[in-house]
């Protein structure tokens, strides 16, 4: 039994599929990965779908429908290790913008027969419903971080996924700070690194795709943005994007709502 390849599954809740594709995008590592695991369930990649239980399950997407709730509870029962991937699964995603609005109103406006729509009032992360063993952030996730997480779990070690700011990635890369040298508003100082400082490397401010870092001071950064000429409405919108419902970002956007 000890040498049996671990059974691996990939599930999808409410999401765009981009994070699952990061796994298929890991071309150089994919064959090696497939050599070390049994790909038991991954509808995006294979029509061969084996029944659980599974050793490792990856879940993409947020919980937005009653069906999602049932599915995720079943998935949790079937997976020894449950890892959520991406901003939707870890924070509720961009669709969590509905959490500030009346969803029934939306369904009336969008659908001809809204009575067929069964949806929850809020889009929430998987961890709001079931225990999650590891959350991998990002919109989308970084494929190298995903491979690192899989390597770590397959070797029974802690993943080397830093929870500190994007600023550290910028400095390791030798980037010149866009806030200090260009007065470009940047969420880097409150956002968890992991993207290798993608946007600041192209002279843009960080969009916060990886969500709040381990220890945030969003109000100080918002005050600095105000100093740079941003309005409260603009600041609210900056914090209200892919990780809008992650608590520190949610609170800061609400503080700037009026």
């Amino acid at each position: 039994m000890a040498n049996k390849k671990p059974k691996f599954a990939v599930f999808k809740m409410s999401s765009c599929d981009g994070c699952q594709l990061s796994l298929l995008d890991a071309e150089d590592e994919l064959l090696e990965l497939l050599g070390g695991i049994e790909l038991a369930y991954f509808p995006e990649a294979s029509s061969r779908m084996l029944k659980g239980p599974y050793d490792i399950g990856l879940v993409e997407g947020s919980i937005t429908t009653p069906r999602n709730v049932e599915e995720i509870r079943q998935i949790r029962k079937e997976c020894k290790i449950l890892i959520t991937i991406g901003a939707c699964a870890t924070a509720g995603g961009i669709q969590a913008l509905r959490n500030w609005k009346d969803v029934k109103e939306f369904t009336k406006i969008v659908y001809a027969s809204p009575e067929y729509i069964s949806t929850l009032n809020r889009s929430l992360p998987v961890s709001s419903y079931v225990h999650v063993d590891f959350e991998l952030r990002g919109c989308p996730i970084n494929k190298y971080q995903l491979i690192e997480v899989l390597k770590a779990f397959l070797n029974h070690r802690k993943p080397n996924i830093a929870t500190r700011s994007v600023c550290v990635d910028c400095k390791l890369k030798g980037n010149v700070c866009v806030m200090v040298a260009r007065s470009t508003p940047c969420l880097g100082p409150v956002t968890q690194g992991g993207c290798n400082a993608l946007c600041p490397s192209y002279d843009r401010g960080c969009f916060g795709c990886y969500g709040p870092m381990d220890s945030t001071n969003t109000s100080s950064l918002a005050a600095e943005f105000r100093e740079m000429g941003e309005t409260n409405y603009e600041i609210m919108n900056v914090f209200r994007s892919y990780n809008a419902y992650a608590e520190p970002f949610r609170k800061e956007s609400e503080a700037n709502e009026k």
Binding site: E29, E32, L33, G35, G36, I147, E148, L150, K151, A152, L154, N155, R157, N160, A162, T163, R164, S165, C167, V168, K171, L172, G174, N175, V176, C177, M179, V180, A181, R182, C186, G188, P189, V190, D203, D214, S215, T216, N217, S219, S220, L221, A223, E224
Partner: protein, 368 residues
């Protein structure tokens, strides 16, 4: 003292390259003056200066074509001596267990052009950290003993500079192979050169030079005096150790914590901060392992995590730890202050927290 023409600097760079050095110097990139490999005098930031304030940096054009007319930028020489990411060793599983191979067979031979006095002091401080009798860092010391240092005396001070307060400048006093002072008059552009080591003298024998005249030496002195009297900041260091030790409960820390982002920028740009993290990385099979060292920071929650959690969970506790270590407990630990007064932590803090101002805020709070 010798005097060389501006163009002779190009010959110095060429000679160092010929001698097998990887020559590193200042260059303009992405709106700032950074340190990178250079191949000739054209790579230097001719005619560029900078404008610095707390949380603010802009390049500005100079009208005199100075090659070293800028203050300390976002990077320091630390990135070469103590790289941000370094593979320490790798290991391969075999039938008997595993075999370890050291990763750093390559130790580049660097020549640093344009090292400021404060930066030289930062290197001296890191020498005490990485080679202190108890611990010796292999990579640092192998590189350190072979570097060629061409220091440049500061003719101007930046708005966030305070080397005079820290007694680390603006004149490079020791530890260099050659020290240059750039002089630009109406129709002249030359360097006054001081040879600090036999290695420096050996280089200068290859370069066309004249013995400096009284006027030239006076001009070099004036340049330094100009820098010295125009420091943008001052930090009162009298009794600083007991000041910080006695004021760990001061409300100034609460005020700072309201602003501090805990983003770690100050520690990354600091030329003396030396914290690092060591991570082991395996491949998918688990047969191959690598150990990597990366820059870390006392502002990162993971950094001080021990069994049971982190004992500095608040930003207030982490800022206080950083500043108290830098200015006070560093003296107990290494016999020297950890601050060289370069001002980088002030300029590159996204919200402009100013270490000199915070020290004076603590002093002021005691008078009230």
């Amino acid at each position: 003292m010798k005097t060389i023409s501006k163009d002779s600097l190009d010959k110095i760079i060429g000679y160092l390259k010929y001698k097998g050095y990887k020559v590193i110097g200042p260059s303009v990139r992405d709106g700032a003056i950074i340190y990178d490999e250079i191949s000739c005098i054209e790579d230097l930031p001719a005619g560029w200066g900078d404008e610095q304030e707390a949380g603010h940096y802009r390049l500005r054009k100079r009208n005199d074509g100075a090659l070293f007319g800028y203050a300390a930028g976002p990077q320091s020489w630390k990135k070469f001596l103590f790289p941000g990411k370094l593979k320490l060793w790798e290991a391969e599983k075999n039938s008997k267990g595993f075999e370890i191979t050291p990763a750093n067979g390559q130790f580049p031979k660097y020549a640093f052009i344009g090292v400021r006095s404060c930066e030289l002091h930062a290197v001296f401080i890191q020498d005490k950290v990485f080679n202190n009798g108890m611990f010796s860092d292999t990579y640092y010391n192998k590189i350190r003993k072979n570097i060629f240092i061409a220091a440049v005396n500061c003719a101007e001070a930046g708005k966030t500079c305070f080397c005079v307060s820290m007694k680390t400048g603006p004149k490079a006093e020791e530890g260099y192979d050659i020290a240059l002072t750039e002089i630009i008059n109406q129709d002249e552009h030359y360097f006054v050169v001081d040879e600090g080591t036999p290695k420096g003298s050996e280089l200068m024998e290859q370069i066309e030079s004249l013995t400096s005249t009284e006027e030239q030496l006076a001009a070099a002195d004036d340049a330094l005096k100009n820098a010295e009297s125009n420091m943008g900041r001052t930090l009162e260091t009298d009794g600083i150790k007991s000041l910080l030790y006695k004021n760990h409960a001061n409300t100034v820390w609460d005020q700072i914590a309201k602003r501090c982002l805990s983003c770690a920028n100050c520690t990354m740009v600091c030329p003396t901060c030396f914290c690092s993290n060591v991570e082991d990385v395996t491949d998918l099979s688990g047969d191959h392992t690598e150990r990597w060292r990366t820059w870390d920071s006392c502002f990162n929650l993971d950094y001080s995590k021990v069994a049971g959690g982190n004992f500095r969970t608040s930003i207030k506790a982490r800022y206080r730890q950083w500043m108290t270590h830098k200015l006070a407990s560093w003296i107990d630990q290494f016999g020297i202050s950890g601050c060289v007064g370069c001002g980088r932590c002030i300029t590159w803090c996204p919200v402009g927290i100013d270490i000199t101002k915070e020290v004076s805020n603590i002093r002021k709070s005691l008078k009230n």
